[in-house]
Symmetry: C2
Subunit: 257 residues, 2 copies
């Protein structure tokens, strides 16, 4: 066991360059000494199986997690037991920062497939970022980015017709794969149609119908989980389509600005 731990530590060290912590450290030039410190506070966790929880809504908040491999969904549950998916997360994502306020997890994080994560005790991370200016900045930056992403998501939920929602979902996912060095045009959906529908505020049937329709129109090829995008420009165009209800979306107030 102790031998394993040594191996793990070495592996983490080498992996830091591949995961979000690399982007989190290196851009602001952490030296070897700082990188060492960071490595020391990271805990290895055994792989989490599909369907297992990384944490549940209501759990006390102790750590944030970076995804090393696999994907997961975060979602809230309301009084009636209904779920609302907040986001899907891919390798390199840092999750859990939304629980700082209140020190209780307000989302559940569930693995969509077998995943591998690094656990980072938050109090240690916070102390460290007190000493390393670049780290503090990067934490703030990550949360800022998360806010921006959610603004987009909110806009889609509030206005967009169903085709634009799904097109938007696909192009964003594609872009995220591209940014991680995977193919932007061919990938597997780790989430179910149900999950996609939920996150986009739609019915499952509508997702099914639209995917068929997109395929019919030559925008993409889809077979179960596998998706191949054939006409990205058209898909992007679709995702920008605004709803017909554009009535109250222009500011009519007589601004002095």
């Amino acid at each position: 066991m102790s031998r394993n731990r040594i191996v793990d530590l070495a592996e983490i060290r080498s992996n830091c360059k591949k995961c979000s912590l690399f982007q989190l450290c290196m851009p602001m030039g952490l030296d070897d000494n700082d990188l060492e410190k960071l490595d020391k506070i990271i805990k290895r966790r055994r792989p989490v199986e599909k369907g297992d929880y990384l944490y549940r809504m209501g759990d006390p908040f102790h750590s944030v997690y970076t995804i090393r491999a696999g994907s997961l969904k975060t979602y809230t549950t309301n009084q009636n037991g209904q779920e609302q998916i907040i986001a899907f997360h891919l390798p390199g994502d840092l999750i859990g920062l939304d629980a700082i306020q209140g020190e209780i997890h307000t989302c559940s994080a569930k693995a969509l497939e077998t995943i591998s994560v690094c656990e980072i005790p938050f109090d240690r991370l916070e102390s460290l970022s007190q000493k390393i200016p670049g780290l503090q900045h990067h934490l703030l930056k990550l949360m800022s980015e998360e806010l921006q992403l959610e603004h987009c998501h909110m806009t889609i939920l509030a206005r967009a017709p169903v085709e634009a929602r799904l097109a938007s979902f696909l192009t964003q996912l594609s872009e995220r794969f591209r940014a991680r060095g995977y193919s932007a045009t061919e990938f597997n959906l780790s989430m179910s149609r149900n999950d996609i529908a939920n996150s986009l505020g739609m019915a499952v049937e509508t997702i099914s119908r639209l995917l068929s329709q997109f395929q019919e129109h030559g925008l993409l090829q889809v077979e179960r989980k596998h998706v191949q995008i054939l006409d990205m420009p058209a898909l992007v165009e679709l995702s920008n389509r605004c709803g017909p209800n554009a009535q109250n979306t222009r500011d009519s107030s007589h601004g002095t600005a």
Copy 2:
């Protein structure tokens, strides 16, 4: 002018205890020395008139702002010129942190009435929070809280029927007023029906109809901007009502957890 500035500084000092910076500083026990440092980096801004912008989408990011008096809306604008309101902000709110990533404002902030704000240059704030642990923690906490609020907003946009959306809007606003020491049951809406509709992803006409309906049912009294809540429990109950489309909102995956 220089005399004015002196007066202003004194005023800000005394006001820090009333605005969000007080909650931001005191809970973690800033001593007079630290409070002094904080006061020094805060810039006074002349009042912003109704309809004026605090900043616009696309502006370079330099400062965050705390609202001392009045209210404003933040919104994004898409390619087609359509607006989507992200949030309404009240006195004590700190806004602008979502622009850290990219260092460009991704929202516009527009005054709903004449407002008074404190401008805090972000680089100064960041340096200071590097020295004051409690300040760093509180910045993270504020962003975490913002994420949580947006999760709620997303859930409403994705699932809730229109009555629940409006009820939720009203109870949340009420709660925010209460937390600021104002009446929770009687207040003025600084935003137009159009703005409410936009932020909730609805048509203006629906807002109008629902307000009439709520009044008819004895839930509240409304006359133009003035609102008096008569049956808060019923309103809260309404806000928790889930949509009829609760089909794909329960997780059917056979989790091993």
